[in-house]
Amino acid sequence: MTDVIDRPVNLDSDDQGPVNPDHGHDHGHDHHGPSGLVKWMTSTDHKVIGISYTVTSLTMMIIGGAFAEIIRAQLVSPTSTLVSFAQYNELFTMHGSVMIYLFVGPFAFAGLANYLVPLQIGAPDMAFPRLNLLSYWLYLCGSLVMLSGFLTSGGAANFGWVGYAPLSNVTASPGSGADLWIVALMLTGFSAIFSGVNLVATIFYLRAPGMTLFRMPIFTWNMLITGILILLAFPILTGGLVMLYCDRHFGTHIFTVSGGGVPLLWQHIFWFWGHPEVYILALPMFGMVTEVFAVFSKKPIFGYRGMVFATISIGALSLGVWAHHMFTTGAVLLPFFSAMSLLIAVPTGIKMFNWIGTMWGGKVTYSTSMLMAMGFLFTFLVGGITGIYLASPPIDFFTHDTYFVVAHFHSVVMALVLGAMSAIFLWFPKMSGIMLNERLGKFQFWFLFIGTQVFTFPMYLVGLKGMPRRMAVYPNNPSWQSLNQWASVGALLIGISMVFFIVNALYSFKKRVPAGDNPWDAQTLEWYTSSPPPAHNFVSLPPIHSERPTWDYNHPDHLSLGHGNKEKAKAGS
């Protein structure tokens, strides 16, 4: 279907090798530039950087997941001595930090976004390619700095991924692991800010002719809102980290009571970043699964404009809900933050129904990518509903800091992981030119999906029984043991699913089943060019009259229907 597109055939396989998952470098298509490691280190091509980000962040997922497996192994018994109390505190701190700061975020807003946004809007690259490369290096260095905490004599940071003052001050946490954690977050924070600048600038200035804002794919729309949220939120965190560092080493008392400081200020600063951050992680995945639902239902996104407005309202509301993490401090205005937090369920619900509406009346194919997206839908429904509970202060009072909260955000984040996997299965052929194995993918899906539920549901229940989070042991409550064991079984299943994922990647690179330009009959612009795309992405572009130019080009008789199922007027066609 794409052979009619006029563009030079570029099938020289020596020069077009796919990505190497171990090193994350892309041989690409530039006949004259460097190759191999040098190319990986110096290329400003958004595709190379996007793949570097993706591979690095998935490596972080494996590392953070390994920490989680140790945590779950410790909790199998109420008095386990697998790890010491100190090691346990380091492990859950680094598990949370690696997953949030080094995996989900960079994967979402810098990995696939870097790769896809220019392709989806018909641009040759990101707006600031060198800044983009700097962003990756800051991220990689920050990641290594954070993990190097384990090599210090005092161990890695151990005050939780939220680093609450005054536990994170130099008296309570004297080790240099804490300093490395702070510096790492400054580095990755700047990396995120630069990515945000790049996303916003690229989307506003580099769209191809005809690609109006309301013809952008939902993924790109979500990345625009994500980029804006990054610019609003991340500088606050970086500022807070500078204050924390000054408190620790330069004698300031910003978060220290003895000098007239206010520890609570840290929580305000942290969560003013931290709640938009939740949506900085979630919106990209929402965008990814939106594309997946459309592709594998062979339909346009249901309620495209409503979806865009829902994304914008989530972005706006997310800036006013931070103190729902602080209901139990007794120092925040409960009704306001409760109302804002409940309200954010409305646009999220709209998205949920739009996804369902996209499948409705379609021809739904159960590919691995689509199964992952369906798994996302269910898991996110659970996480979303329990999030509504926590928006109610009286309910939060007895669930805050218990495993109920841990279960809630693991439902949400595991939904995002399912969304990420869905996206990988959809776009891997575009990035590498070869297909992932579907059979191994389906094994991965079932282990991941069932594992996630077996992992989270017991945690909800043990949280309601009163088990606080971040407990190395629970000697007084042996009745919590069986639920904890079930959660550990779930974590193990999730771990096995990742083994299938790695095996699948290795197997697929060995098998090399060619993907072709558009193996899924997908709809957006990136599927119009070759797989992987040439150095400057496009040799030619189809006319752009909707958010799915490739579909319109391939199926001119099946354009989207407007309201009332009348064919939309096509301006300029």
Binding site: S338, F353, L381, S392, R469, N476
Partner: protein
């Protein structure tokens, strides 16, 4: 989609927020009427029924949220399952379905209904929340100081002091059927004062006193522990709450007042009671502008 969760049945968006205690009580009754009608048939959904008056209201709110979640989540799940299973493409069916993209009335419906649900949940929340944070004139006051890694309970105007670390699990003695005010503070890092069966937790923070009231309905010994990560021995920072009859409480207080000479004594309930301050610093509360 017409079935709304019970807690929002009687609710319209224009409903004014309760202004007086009486009004709010009435509204709560109306809101929770479906629950009351269902009586004991409404399951606990894994939550504690609650030992205190407000814990009980919180429990009913919890039940209401669960019923709402089952209705809304159930409908969503059913629609989702239908979309997933009913529209599965048959093998070899390469045809292209109708390219429907918009249905404005439907989209408006699934925007408006969630707003109504959320408004209902919000009103129920505010009613219960106002009860939980109410601060009536207390019959007894207990000052609680959390420290790494233990608890100190002092009773202002008396000489009773209870201190204990980690698994020693000190006991906070309080009278039943009376309003008991707790003044909570930390002497070092942030701790979480969490009593599962009271359906309540509150941060103990340095430099800031948190005040709240318990009105226990049942006597008994309840386990509790620190919920907020506070360093190395966080997982062992236990305490217990002993709710006793007012006369037992008075007897306990007077026995502590009488035995001023003894440094330690064993209380009737087995806790080691240390009369003198063993040197745990208490940071005076000071106004920090954050209430």
């Amino acid at each position: 989609m017409s079935s709304l969760p019970p807690s929002s049945d009687s609710l319209s968006a224009e409903h004014p927020l309760p202004a007086t205690k009486n009004k709010s009580k009435k509204l709560l009754l109306v809101l929770l009427a479906p629950l009351a009608l269902a009586g004991c048939q409404v399951p606990s959904f894994g939550g504690y029924k609650g030992v205190t008056k407000t814990a009980n209201s919180t429990f009913h709110l919890w039940q209401g949220f669960n019923l709402a979640a089952i209705v809304v989540g159930g409908i969503t799940l059913a629609v989702m399952a239908w979309a997933i299973f009913a529209y599965r493409a048959k093998k070899g069916d390469g045809s292209i379905p109708k390219q429907t993209q918009y249905h404005i009335p439907l989209e408006v419906t699934y925007t408006v209904i969630p707003i109504l649900v959320v408004v209902g949940l919000f009103v129920a929340t505010v009613v219960v929340e106002n009860q939980v944070v109410a601060d009536p004139t207390p019959s007894a006051t207990i000052n609680v100081t959390a420290f790494q890694w233990g608890w100190k309970f002092t009773y202002p105007g008396t000489k009773a002091v209870v201190v204990g670390q980690t698994t020693a699990s000190p006991i906070m003695v309080m009278p039943v059927n009376q309003d008991v005010r707790i003044n909570l503070v930390s002497s070092d890092v942030i701790h979480g004062f969490y009593i599962p069966e009271f359906n309540f937790s509150r941060f103990a923070q340095p430099g800031m006193v948190n005040t709240f009231t318990f009105h226990a309905n049942n006597t008994g010994l309840y386990s509790a522990q620190c919920s907020q990560l506070c360093g190395l021995y966080h997982s062992l920072m236990y305490f217990r709450v002993d709710v006793v009859s007012p006369s037992q409480y008075q007897a306990w207080i007077s026995s502590k007042n009488a035995s001023t000479s003894a440094r330690t004594a064993i209380a009737a309930n087995g806790a080691i009671v240390i009369q003198d301050n063993p040197g745990i610093p208490v940071i005076p509360s000071h106004s920090n502008g954050a209430q």
